[in-house]
Structure formats: C-alpha cells, structure tokens
Symmetry: C4
Subunit: 227 residues, 4 copies
C-alpha cells in the first residue's frame, strides 16, 4: 500500500470516522480528567481495522494524521496498515485493547487514569470492586457486550496489580477477563481502568457509568455508608 493509500485510511470528512472520533473523544476525556499527562485513550475497531492513538502525546491535541491503523487479527506486532509519517509509536495500551477485541469481541476499548478508578483500587483492597443498588449500574452490560445489568444486580469489576510496563498487564488482564466473564472492565491498582463495549458509543457510555459508580462508591465508603 502506498503512503497515500495508507493515509486515506485516516482522512475523512465524516465526523464519525474513527480517525476523527478518537481525537474528539480524547479531548473530551481530557476535560473529564481521564487522560491528562498523556495517559489513557480510546481505540476503535471496525471490522478488521483497529484505530489507535499514539503513545506519549497530549491526548487533547491528537490530529487524525497521528492515528495508527492496525489489521485485526494482527499477524505480528510489527504489522501496520498505516503509520503516521512523523516519528510516533502506537499507544502502549495496544495489547490491552487487543484483549477486549479478542476475548470479548469488543468494537472499542477505553483506558482512563481517572482518580476515581485509582481511589477505588485503594479503598477496595481485594481482588474485586463491587457495589449494588445504584441506578447507574443499569448503564453497564453483562461482560460489556451482553444485555444490560439490572438495578438488582451486583456489579463486579476485577482489580489486577499494576506492572512497570503497560504491556506486561496483558496476561493478568486476560486472566481476570476469563475469571470474571460478566465484568465490563478491569481495574488496575494504582493506575486506572480498562472498559470496552460493542462500539465506541457503548464503550464510552459504559466508562461514564463505571466512573460515576467508582466516584460515588468512594464517597459512600469515606462517609461510612458502605460496610
């Protein structure tokens, strides 16, 4: 594929094209405090193409021409359908996003460094965070992909330990996803959270619901409202 053909993969007048959506959504996430300091982001998979932002850049200033396009499935970590022409590396979250695509068939995966997620992992010291009887639970789907949880369900998100290198989370995240097939995300202790969905809308709104639940459950815990 020529560079012009490759670049065509990220140039579109459609505001809902993944290469336009990722910059817009990352800017929005920045203002929510989810992706400051270059961390976090969102990946979108459409069929056999995966769109991914660069590593180590200001997430509120990404441009479509900075987006990587990867094949799905991906024969090896060296294969790209399209790379930016300036020297950038694909997000270090790529193997983690891949877990969501491979193990759940997700169409999108969000990663945040939200302080609500981090505080949750500090106040819930075990292997899982769980709450029940909160309306926002209904905005999350079983396994992130199935039917919506009920108000009467207990929502559970596994918590895995952080590692010095993001890619080294791949196996423990995958194990947690297998062990908790109904979970719509995985918390990483002292780090943040991964949340996925069938498409970018569902990945985003489920991240909003989980972030809200993390925040309100932290408030409840600190107010002595959770035993």
């Amino acid at each position: 594929m020529s560079q012009a053909e490759a670049d065509a993969l990220v140039l579109s007048d459609d505001p809902e094209h993944p290469a336009n959506l990722i910059p817009e959504l990352c800017a929005s996430f920045y203002h929510l405090g989810w992706v400051t300091g270059t961390g976090g982001g969102i990946s979108i998979r459409q069929g056999n193409k995966v769109y991914i932002a660069p590593s180590g850049v200001q997430k509120e200033r990404i441009k479509p021409e900075h987006i990587f396009v990867l094949p799905f499935p991906r024969p090896s970590p060296d294969v790209f359908l399209r790379k930016p022409t300036i020297p950038l590396k694909e997000s270090a979250c790529t193997p983690l996003f891949w877990n969501a695509f491979e193990l759940r068939g997700a169409g999108s995966c969000v990663h945040t460094h939200s302080q609500h997620a981090v505080m949750t992992t500090l106040l819930w010291s075990g292997d899982v965070w769980q709450v029940s009887h909160l309306e926002m639970i209904k905005g999350v789907r079983i396994g992130g992909m199935g039917k919506a949880l009920s108000y009467l369900d207990t929502i559970i998100v596994p918590i895995i330990d952080n590692t010095p290198f993001e890619e080294d989370l791949k196996d423990s995240m995958a194990q947690a996803m297998v062990k908790y097939p109904d979970a719509a995300g995985v918390l990483v202790r002292r780090h943040g959270v991964y949340v996925w969905g069938a498409d970018w809308e569902k990945a985003k709104t489920q991240t909003e619901c989980l972030d809200y639940l993390f925040e309100v459950s932290v408030k409840m815990k600190l107010a002595g409202l959770l035993s």
Copy 2:
C-alpha cells in the same frame, strides 16, 4: 400526518424551539455531570405537544431529528405526533415527566442522575430531605409552580425508593407529589431526582437550585454542621 409534516415539528431555525433546546440543554447538563452514561434529560411541553429525547443515547449528542413529539393529553402510550426515522425509543422517563405535566400542570421536567442527589438520598434515610436557612431556597417555587419560597421556609423534597424499571416509579412518584403538594421535585433513592417548572427556564433553574442545595447540604452533613 405525513413524515414530512411530522418532521416539521422538530425542524426550526429558532434556537429556542424545544427540538433545538433539548439537545443544547442536555449537552449542558452532561458537563454538569447530570446526564452522563445516557441517563437523565429534559422534556418540554408547549400546550398540547410534548417534546422528549430518545432513551439510551448519549445525551450530549442528541440532534433535533432524534426528538419525539407526543400529544398532551395522550390517548395511549402508542400515540406519537412524530417519531425519529431511525430506530429509537422514547425516554423511559416519559411516564415520570407526565406526572409533572398532569399533576402540576408543568411545562417542563428535568431528570438528573446527579451524585449530589444520590448522596442526599443516602444521607437522609427517611421519607424526605429538608434544609432551611440557605439563600438558594429562594430560587425554588412552591410546588415548583407557585410563588417563590422564602429564605425563612424549610424546603422539603420527598424521597421515594427506586425500582428496577424506571416506568414503575410512576405511581410512587405521583403519590409523593400528592402527599407533598409544595414540593418542587421528587428524589429517587440511589438514582437521582425529578424537578419541574412552568417552563424550561424555571425547570432548569429550579434544578440548579436544588442540585446546589443537595450538594451543600451533603457537605454540611459530612462536616457535622447539620444535627
């Protein structure tokens, strides 16, 4: 009515047309944390027409063509003056908004999932939340529709229990509205709040006042400033 005639009900150059206002206001509410994760919203009634947003969509991205128009009164739940041409369902809050229109004669009703409302329902464990001697009380009208409360009045909002299905709140919300005729809203435990007013401006500003009062009363409670 033809689809073109029906669509004309939601297409207008006037920024204050309900089909333009609902998207704008929902986007604004999103940034206040009131309607993240697809929850919450605002309905506007103008005479015998009620404008309602779809269910389960990102509330900050609604477009005028997504708006439902319902007749008021409504002969049956199946009657619409206008439905979007793409497959969407009207907000699950519709029967609750209707309570405000029917029982109070309201012209608009707001529903939020504000964490301040939820924390209020957790820290006030009885049937009502109440505070007094706060200036913002003056921004709320008796029953949501009458004259403004005084600084010397105690403001009372009933709290009802949540149900698995939003529409099942209809009866208990109606009962609370009848039992507390001076209340400008109804809190739903572990869920959020419904607030109404004579028009969208008053529904919105009263929601702002109540949300402020929920927030500051939670702070006061946690600081030991309320007995």
Copy 3:
C-alpha cells in the same frame, strides 16, 4: 431620551463595553458555579453610568439588550437611563452594588453564591473570616481599592447575617464596610459574598482570589490544619 437613544447605551461592537462584558462574565461565572439558579452577577460602573443585569434570569444567557443603565449618583430608585423593552426588573443586588460604589468608590462589584463562600460562613461562626500565610492573599487589595495585601498580612472579611429580602442587607453590609475599611468584600452567612474593585478586572480577579482562599481555607479547616 428616546428609546433608541437609550438602547444605544447598551449596543456596541466593543467586546469590552459593559453591556457586552456583563453577559460574557456572567456566563463565565456560571461555569465556576458562582451564579447558577439565577443568583449572583456583576455590575460595572463607568463614571456616572452603572450597568446592571436583570433579576431572576439565567445568568449565563443574558443579552446586551437585557442590561439596565442607571445614573450615578441616582436621585431615586425609580430613575433609569435605560431599561429593557421586555418586562424585566433590575437585579435585587442593586442596593448592595451601590454600597461598593458609594462607600468605596468602586468601579465594579461581583456577587456570587459560591458554595465555598457559604461553607466559609458556616465554618467561621463569628463576625469575620480570616486567614494568613497564603500566596493568593497578595491578589487582594486593601479595602478592595488600595495597594495589594502582603503575604504577611492577615486577610479579614466580615460576615453579616442573611435577610429574607436581598435589599435589606444594604444597611448591615454598609455597617460592615465602615467597621472593616480594609476588607475587599463582605460575606453573607448562608448566602454568598460581595466583592468589589476599581474596575471589572480587579473586581473579578479579587473575587477569584477570595473564592480560592475560601475554598482552600475550608479544606484546611476540615483537614484539621487550622486551629
């Protein structure tokens, strides 16, 4: 004066004209949580003209044609240089803004319902709020109009009791201003704060400094960092 001549007082292409600034600043204050629910605002005096927003309107949606222009000094409460053509009443804060213009010679006065101001008045139960040794003190001028306070100064703002009608605060606010000539503002218990300055820039930035100091002093108090 004809209505056209009167309207010319509020119509200008200059973004720094008071009738353009007041809407812009009120919208900005709305997003800071200072003027939600129709409360609060800013008045600007330029020489013998005072520009004031309407009462009871959404402060983030004011338009230049909604602005009142009053003469300074004002022979009686009934005299206006210009009134909006739609039925609106001038801000109920007008007599309080006047205190700042008359007693301090201020060119602008801000009123907020900031929760930080309200919490301050609840956690400081006496006649004054005071803190020392915080850098932001340097952004406030002696009496709101003189030279800047030093980092070594203790900043003092008197707290007056709230009244059911805003205009009834006029005398107690004036007394507090006379008793505390070095104060750059007056807190109103369970209500908010008035802050003034030589011009709109100084009134606004001093309000920002005081609001910051209220917020951080509340945090310090709740953390046990203030005796």
Copy 4:
C-alpha cells in the same frame, strides 16, 4: 531594533508560535484552576529567546501583543528584545523561570497556584513531598529533563518556604534544585509549584502528572491511606 521589528517577534500565524501558545495555554490552565486571580503562568524558551507573559493580568485573556521577549542568557534584568507597547511589567516569576532554564537547560517552565499543590505543602510538613507506586509517576522525567521515572521509583519534589516577594524565591528554589537534581519541580509552601521540561509539551504534561499526583496523594492522606 525598531518597535515593528520587535513586534514581529510576537506576531505569527503559526498557532504553535510561543506568543500564540502562551495565551492559549494560560486560558486552558485557568479552567484547571491553576492560574486564577492573575497568578501563575507558563514561559517558553526557544534557543536564545524567552517568551514571558505580563504580571498581574487575567491569565485567560492574554493576547500575543502582551508577550515579553527576553534574550537568553540575559545580560541584565533591564534587557528586553521586545516589550508590549501598553504599560505592563513582565511576570514576577521571571527569575524563577530562569532557574529552570539555567540550572536544568529547560525549554519551558510552568507555575501554578493549584490548590492541590498548596494542600500538599500543608499535609507534608517536611522538606519534601514524596509518593510511590502510582502509574502517573511514569509521566514525569528525572530532573524534568532526563528519562522517564519508573512505576517502581519514588517521586520526590522539594518544598521551599514562601517569601513575601516572588523574586526572593530565586535562591532557595535554586538551592532545592541543586540539592534534589532528580526533581522535576519545586513546591512552594502555601503558594504553588514550579515545573519544567525540555519543551512546552513536556513542561505542561509533567505539570499535569504532578498535579494529579498531588491531588490523589492528598485524597489518600485524608483517607488514611498513607502512613
């Protein structure tokens, strides 16, 4: 140099020109609560030119023509390559920014009055703030300029005492930078923080990481999660 030649130093169509970036970034910092009340800001050095904002102005309303350009190195405090034509003084932070340029070879330095920084200096009463085992540590470079810290590193930022005049911080800040060569910033007790980097992107993102770490460590401390 003529005034026209000097003005050319701050007039550019390139949005990434320092004279355009400083206003944009300061406006963004204002909305983060870092530079309200005229405090704080960012300076950018490109080779032998340093771009600096004025002192005592609203940081969210700076215009390119307000920017000072100073030579680096600077023969004396009186030498400017370009000054605004209206009466303004260069930021009082100039000598502190210079520490970062001279002692670290930084290309940019940020100063904030963030309340998270201030609370950190109150809750860590010794000479340094330090935390470990938080993912956001990885967004900060050794000494602000070297390779990135690891998740396994303890991040340390020295805390110096505040002084009545900002320029009097120069020596104690320099001493702290020499004593803690690996620190990417210096906290000023009851005042704020200085953070630098190789360029404006790295200074900004490192400030974001540190501010996040200050905030979350304050939350952890208040929740009893730090011994």
